[in-house]
């Protein structure tokens, strides 16, 4: 879409500068006159929202770094000092902490948008891959940042995650030691995490520049997935049309953001992180921040050995595989039709995929052995050993007195004990089913559907889809429905 430049320097200074550093021309061509499909909906505003999120995180982060002390004996207190003593420190920290959640909320919507409208398909594969790289570094940055306040969840979350790296065969222990800078998480770890947490957002910024560059070569995808054919009919200049639309969406987004900052600043956090880290006491329930929960659920869903790979390593592989698979989505989806608006089957599988993603988040937040729902009422069970003292037997009762009576009649050697037996559908099983669907969606459904599915007719052009094909008769007849064998492949 990077066509000939429309910029014409007017003043003498602009002409002088244009032959030396054509920066005004560059800004004009990328952000003012950039031809943008005229049918973008609000799902397309999240790119701009994410740019704002990154800037907010960098600005608030730089301010927090002026007051934070990366020392295990002082880190927790320095964060409390920011909250209590530093002027407006509470505000800056709450913006930063909730900003991370808002950033991930927006990035997930942005990614689901890309998956639904096929924005990863040719010629936008590199654009998509750069996006996945950004997402990956975002997760790393968020994890590092969560360790810095040196709360209980910081410390023990970090030890669970670094212990995962220890599960890698042969090199795992060495890599883990080099990551921690010692035998366990301590001062060296905190210092390097702080250093990297400061560095990575700027790396993200650099990749965002590449991401926008890769976007501006083919131009935006759009809800129809049909490529721009006539720049005059199909597009409008980015400014003012999309600066205003993005601006409105950013304002609405910031209102939601502000709600969390001012009215529920800790709603998305964990209370245990307001207790200073204690290596000798593990919190009863270790969970990562909400945006990492689906991957945590996949990690814990692998409770069985897969061939020679033990369960722990297999879980680690599944967790990283769940992210790595996003890199190859452009080649897994065989359909030539970009937008799922015209893919009736894919649309349904996609909705199920989104639900599974959210469901995995809930599975990650819950104890795997807790029940999602019960099969029956809880039952009283007496467990005891038989005469040989070997096998453990059990007998169920509906009534406490019956159970008590039964226990009294057993000999002393039977060591009877009363238990409550629960039967129901475990969160673990839910995580396993949804995790299976997550991988099946990419590895089975997308490849097969592209060949089998019969897409609906697509509009001949973006102008047609906006105006309806009666008015835009000059745009030609709509592409007939029919499998991918359809001669009209322009949206592919």
């Amino acid at each position: 879409m990077s066509g000939p430049s429309t910029y014409e320097p007017k003043t003498g200074f602009e002409k002088w500068l244009d032959t030396r550093l054509p920066i005004i021309r560059f800004a004009n061509d990328t952000a003012i006159d950039f031809p943008t499909p005229k049918n973008l909906n609000y799902w397309w505003t999240f790119g701009g929202i994410l740019a704002i999120c990154l800037v907010i995180q960098i600005v608030t982060g730089i301010v927090l770094a002026m007051h934070y002390v990366p020392d295990t004996s002082k880190a927790f207190a320095s964060v409390e000092r920011i909250m209590r003593d530093v002027e407006f420190g509470w505000l800056v920290r709450y913006i930063h902490a909730n900003g991370a959640s808002m950033f991930f909320l927006a990035v997930y919507i942005h990614m689901f948008r890309g998956l639904y409208y096929g924005s990863y398909k040719a010629p936008r594969e590199v654009l998509w891959i750069l996006g996945v790289v950004i997402y990956l570094i975002m997760m790393g940055t968020a994890f590092l940042g969560y360790v810095l306040p040196w709360g209980q969840m910081s410390y023990h979350g970090a030890s669970v995650i670094t212990s995962l790296i220890g599960a890698i065969p042969l090199v795992g222990d060495t890599v883990k030691t080099f990551l921690q800078g010692g035998p366990a998480i301590g001062d060296p770890t905190l210092n390097r995490f702080f250093s990297l947490h400061y560095l990575l957002p700027f790396v993200i910024f650099g990749i965002v520049v590449l991401h926008v560059w890769a976007l501006h070569v083919p131009g935006n995808n759009n809800p129809t997935g049909v490529s721009v054919k006539d720049v005059k009919k199909d597009t409008v200049p980015f400014h003012p049309y999309y600066t205003v639309k993005d601006g409105f969406a950013i304002l609405v987004f910031l209102m939601i953001f502000a709600y969390f900052v001012f009215y529920a600043p800790n709603a998305l956090g964990h209370t245990d992180n307001y207790i200073e880290a204690n290596p000798l006491q593990t919190p009863a329930h270790i969970v990562p921040e909400w945006y990492l929960l689906p991957f945590y659920a996949i990690l814990r869903a692998i409770t069985f050995d897969i061939g020679p790979i033990d369960a722990k390593l297999a879980g680690v592989i599944a967790m990283f595989g769940a992210i790595a698979i996003l890199f190859v989505v452009p080649w897994l989806d065989t359909s030539k039709v970009r937008s799922m608006r015209y893919r009736p089957l894919a649309k349904q599988f996609f909705i199920l995929f989104v639900l599974c993603g959210i469901g995995l988040g809930f599975a990650g937040a819950n104890n795997p052995d807790d029940l999602l729902f019960k099969f029956r009422e809880d039952q009283l069970v007496v467990a005891y050993t038989d005469e040989a003292g070997e096998a453990v037997k059990s007998k169920g009762f509906d009534d406490y007195h019956d159970a008590e009576h039964f226990m009294q009649e057993l000999p002393e050697a039977a060591k009877p004990g009363l238990e409550i037996s629960k039967a129901g559908f475990k969160w673990l099983w839910a995580a396993q089913l949804m995790g299976l669907y997550y991988f099946a969606y990419f590895l089975v459904i997308l490849p097969i559907l592209g060949v089998k599915e019969k897409p609906k007719p697509r509009p001949a052009s973006i102008a047609d889809s906006v105006l309806g094909h009666k008015k835009a008769s000059s745009g030609g007849t709509p592409i007939p429905g029919g499998a991918n064998a359809s001669p009209a492949r322009d949206d592919a």
Partner: protein
């Protein structure tokens, strides 16, 4: 350029320039690796961190039936003073029923005179499942087998620190330690 190129052609089509390219590339790769080495190695444990990787514990201070918890380089260790009943329970276990079979004697280190001090058990304090620190006698919960209980995902350890029930795959590891006298031990990472 072309003059220099043709004048360097040797019999088998390789030029001196090819050699210079390969030599320069090799020197660059070697130089890059040499520069990368210190930048990677600085990530490892520093000398003071390595120096702080052992601790001495006076076992005579531990009350009978109790334990003390030691942090060495940030890693937790349990030193437990077992009662006669706890020792007997640890020795009476049928090994074939254990997920990670080990006798109680195998999990002890002899004193200076070569005998085992069965009353003192030293183990790592990190659950072999995901590294949580199990609770023990001081926290009022020793699990179903009288040893330790990990509240994270419900692993039960017996009075020898062996895994008996729950998701943990291995026994609590016994660290490297030695008796410096009858009651003084030195635990190393």
């Amino acid at each position: 350029m072309s003059d220099a190129h043709t004048s360097n052609i040797e019999e088998d089509g390789e030029t001196r320039r090819d050699f210079i390219h390969i030599a320069a590339g090799a020197a660059f790769a070697g130089g890059a690796a040499a520069v990368a080495w210190p930048f990677v190695m600085q990530l490892g444990p520093a000398a003071d961190t390595r120096a702080a990787s052992s601790a001495e514990v006076d076992t005579s201070k531990i009350p009978l039936g109790g334990e003390i918890r030691v942090l060495i380089g940030g890693k937790p260790f349990f030193v437990r003073h077992r009662t006669e009943a706890e020792i007997a329970a640890a020795e009476a276990v049928n090994l074939s029923k254990l997920p990670d079979p080990q006798t109680d004697d195998e999990r002890l280190v002899p004193m200076m005179n070569g005998e085992l001090n069965r009353a003192i058990l030293v183990t790592s304090g990190a659950c072999t499942h995901l590294g949580c620190v199990p609770v023990g006698p001081a926290q009022g919960n020793t699990g179903d087998f009288g040893g330790w209980y990990c509240p994270c995902h419900g692993s039960h350890y017996d009075t020898s620190g062996r895994i008996r029930k729950g998701p943990a795959p291995k026994n609590l590891p016994v660290p490297t330690y030695a008796y410096l006298s009858d009651s003084l031990i030195k635990i190393s990472l």
